[in-house]
C-alpha cells in the first residue's frame, strides 16, 4: 500500500474542465495518477491540465463526434504513454416534463449522455485492453446517476439516459471481462452542483416542497463533488480489482428507504 493509491495510473476523464469531472481529475492526480482531461471547452481542458501540473494533458473533444473522441483518446494515450482508467463523465440535463420535451432536445441529450459513453468506450477499449494485457488493472468508471435507478419528475430524458448507462456498463463489464477490463457505474443523488441549482426551483414548484427541505429529509444533506471523486478513485484503483458490472450508489440513503 502506497500513500499514493493511484501511482502510475494513466487516466482519461471526459467533461473534466468543470464540476464533477474536474473534481475527479484533481482527486486522481492527487492520488498519483497522470490525468488526461477532455472537454468540449478545449481551452478549459488545456488550462485545467496545466493547473494539475507536469505530466497531465488536456484536449478538446465533443463526445457527440466519433472522430473527435477517437482523436482525443489517441492523443491522450500518446501523451500519457497508455490508458488504464477511463472516466466517462461528460453529460447534460434537461429539466422539463416529458410531454414538454422536444424530440430534438431529447435526442441531443441521449447523444451526449448515452451515445457519448458508447463512443468514448469504443475508442478507449484497445488501449485499456493493452494495459490489462500488460498486467495492469484496467477500468472504466461511468458517471451515471441515482436518476438512472428511479424516476425523478422533470428529469425524464436524463433518467432514461442514466438508466441506459447503467445497463450499458453491465454489458461492457461482461463483454470485456476476458480482456481484463473492468466497468462500473457511480450513481450520485443530489450533489451540490450548478445542475442541481438549476433544477431546484422547477422541482420545488412541481412537488410543492422546498427543494432544500426534501434533500435534508431524504438524503441528509447535499453530497459533495469530492465524495463523488472518492468513490471514483476507489473503483478506479486496484483495490476494486474484482468489482465489475456494478453500480455504486452514493445518495445519503435516498434510495435505500421506501418512502
Amino acid at each position: 500500500m502506497s500513500d499514493l493509491e493511484l501511482e502510475g495510473r494513466l487516466a482519461h476523464v471526459t467533461g473534466a474542465a468543470s464540476g464533477i469531472g474536474w473534481a475527479i481529475a484533481q482527486r486522481l492526480a492527487a492520488a498519483g495518477a497522470r490525468v488526461a482531461i477532455s472537454d468540449m471547452d478545449a481551452d478549459g481542458a488545456v488550462a485545467r491540465a496545466a493547473e494539475l501540473g507536469d505530466g497531465h494533458f488536456g484536449i478538446g473533444a465533443d463526445v457527440r463526434n466519433m472522430e473527435q473522441v477517437t482523436a482525443a483518446i489517441e492523443a491522450s494515450v500518446e501523451a500519457l504513454g497508455g490508458l488504464d482508467l477511463l472516466v466517462n463523465n461528460a453529460g447534460v440535463e434537461i429539466g422539463k416534463p416529458i410531454v414538454e420535451t422536444g424530440e430534438e432536445e431529447f435526442a441531443w441529450l441521449m447523444d451526449i449522455n448515452v451515445n457519448g459513453v458508447f463512443r468514448c468506450t469504443k475508442a478507449a477499449v484497445p488501449a485499456l485492453a493493452a494495459s490489462a494485457a500488460a498486467g495492469k488493472d484496467s477500468a472504466i468508471v461511468n458517471i451515471a446517476s441515482l436518476a438512472g435507478v428511479g424516476g425523478v419528475p422533470l428529469l425524464g430524458a436524463y433518467c432514461a439516459s442514466k438508466a441506459a448507462v447503467i445497463r450499458f456498463t453491465e454489458v461492457t463489464a461482461i463483454e470485456l471481462r476476458e480482456a481484463g477490463v473492468r466497468a462500473n457505474a457511480v450513481c450520485p443523488a443530489f450533489i451540490d452542483t450548478p445542475m442541481v441549482e438549476r433544477l431546484a426551483p422547477a422541482v420545488a414548484a412541481m412537488t410543492g416542497m422546498e427543494f432544500g427541505d426534501v434533500v435534508a429529509v431524504k438524503q441528509g444533506r447535499y453530497g459533495t463533488l469530492e465524495e463523488v471523486a472518492e468513490i471514483v478513485a476507489f473503483l478506479g484503483s486496484d483495490e476494486a480489482a474484482w468489482t465489475t458490472g456494478s453500480h455504486y450508489v452514493l445518495d445519503g440513503g435516498l434510495s435505500g428507504g421506501l418512502l
Partner: protein
C-alpha cells in the same frame, strides 16, 4: 502510508477466519483498534495475537442477545466508544429449501439474520450515544436472487440487506451510516466442500460446463478474495464514504450484471 482508519475502534464479528479475519487484519493495518469477536474464542484470540498491536479478542455467539450486548458494552467500557461495527458472522447450510426442517432453517437464520440484527441494533445504540459511526453488513449477492441449495442463507442475507437499509434510514440523523457489501463467490471453506453439489443442482453437465470452478470462471471471472472484501469494507468504513449510506455494494466479478 496514510492510514484510513486511524484512531477508530472497530468490532468485527465472526473474525477468527475468512472474510472477518481479512477485514480485521486490514482495519488494523489502517490504524484501527480492532476487536475480533467469534464463537471460537481460542481462534479469535490467536488471530488477534497474530495481528498484534492493539488488537484483542472476545468470545461471543453472534446469535445470542446477552452475549452481543455484553460484547458491545465491554468494547465501549474498554475503549471509550465504538466507531465501526462489521456484522460478518455467518453460517451456511447447503440443502434444498423444500424439505428443510424448521430447526435447520433456524440454525442459519438465527445467526445470519437474527445475529446481524443483534450486532447492528446494539452497535447503533452505542454509536448514537457517542455521535455516530459506520455499520457494515457482510451480506451476499445470494440475497438478491433465488439461490438454489442455499435458501436459508440467501433469505437471511436478503433480510440482512433490508435491515441494514432500514437502520441506515432510521439512524441517519444520529450520524450513523449503514451499508451492505454483497460479495459473489469467494473460495472460502463455506464454498469448497459443496462444489459438486452445486454443479449437479445447476445442471452444469447438461450445459457442457465441466465443473463448478469453470462455471465460476464464466460468471464472475474468478473467485473473489477475502482481502478484496476487506478493501471495500475499508472504503465504506472511512470518512471518504461519508455520503454512502443505505447502500448495497456488489463485489462479484460481474456475476449480477449478467442475465445468463
Amino acid at each position: 502510508m496514510a492510514a484510513k482508519l486511524e484512531g477508530k475502534i472497530a468490532l468485527i464479528t465472526g473474525a477468527a477466519q475468512g472474510i472477518g479475519l481479512a477485514v480485521a487484519t486490514r482495519y488494523a493495518a489502517e490504524g484501527a483498534t480492532v476487536v475480533l469477536a467469534d464463537i471460537d474464542g481460542d481462534a479469535a484470540q490467536a488471530a488477534a495475537e497474530n495481528i498484534g498491536g492493539s488488537a484483542s479478542a472476545i468470545t461471543a455467539d453472534a446469535g445470542d442477545e446477552g452475549q452481543t450486548a455484553a460484547l458491545i458494552a465491554e468494547i465501549v467500557d474498554q475503549h471509550g466508544g465504538l466507531d465501526i461495527a462489521v456484522a460478518n458472522a455467518g453460517v451456511a447450510l447447503v440443502a434444498p429449501a423444500v424439505g428443510m426442517s424448521l430447526e435447520d432453517w433456524r440454525k442459519v437464520t438465527s445467526i445470519n439474520l437474527d445475529g446481524v440484527f443483534l450486532t447492528l441494533t446494539h452497535a447503533a445504540g452505542a454509536m448514537a450515544a457517542s455521535g455516530g459511526g459506520a455499520l457494515i453488513t457482510i451480506a451476499s449477492v445470494s440475497g438478491q436472487a433465488g439461490s438454489p441449495l442455499i435458501g436459508a442463507y440467501a433469505s437471511a442475507k436478503a433480510g440482512a440487506i433490508n435491515l441494514t437499509q432500514t437502520i441506515a434510514v432510521e439512524m441517519r440523523d444520529h450520524g450513523i451510516r449503514a451499508n451492505a457489501i454483497c460479495p459473489g463467490f469467494i473460495d472460502t471453506d463455506m464454498v469448497k466442500p459443496h462444489k459438486q453439489t452445486f454443479a449437479d443442482a445447476l445442471g452444469l453437465e447438461a450445459m457442457g460446463i465441466p465443473d463448478f470452478d469453470a462455471f465460476i470462471g464464466m460468471k464472475q471471472g474468478r473467485y473473489g478474495k477475502e482481502t478484496e472484501v476487506a478493501a471495500l469494507a475499508t472504503f465504506l468504513a472511512g470518512d471518504r464514504a461519508g455520503f454512502c449510506t443505505a447502500g448495497v455494494y456488489n463485489l462479484d466479478g460481474g456475476l449480477r450484471a449478467g442475465l445468463l
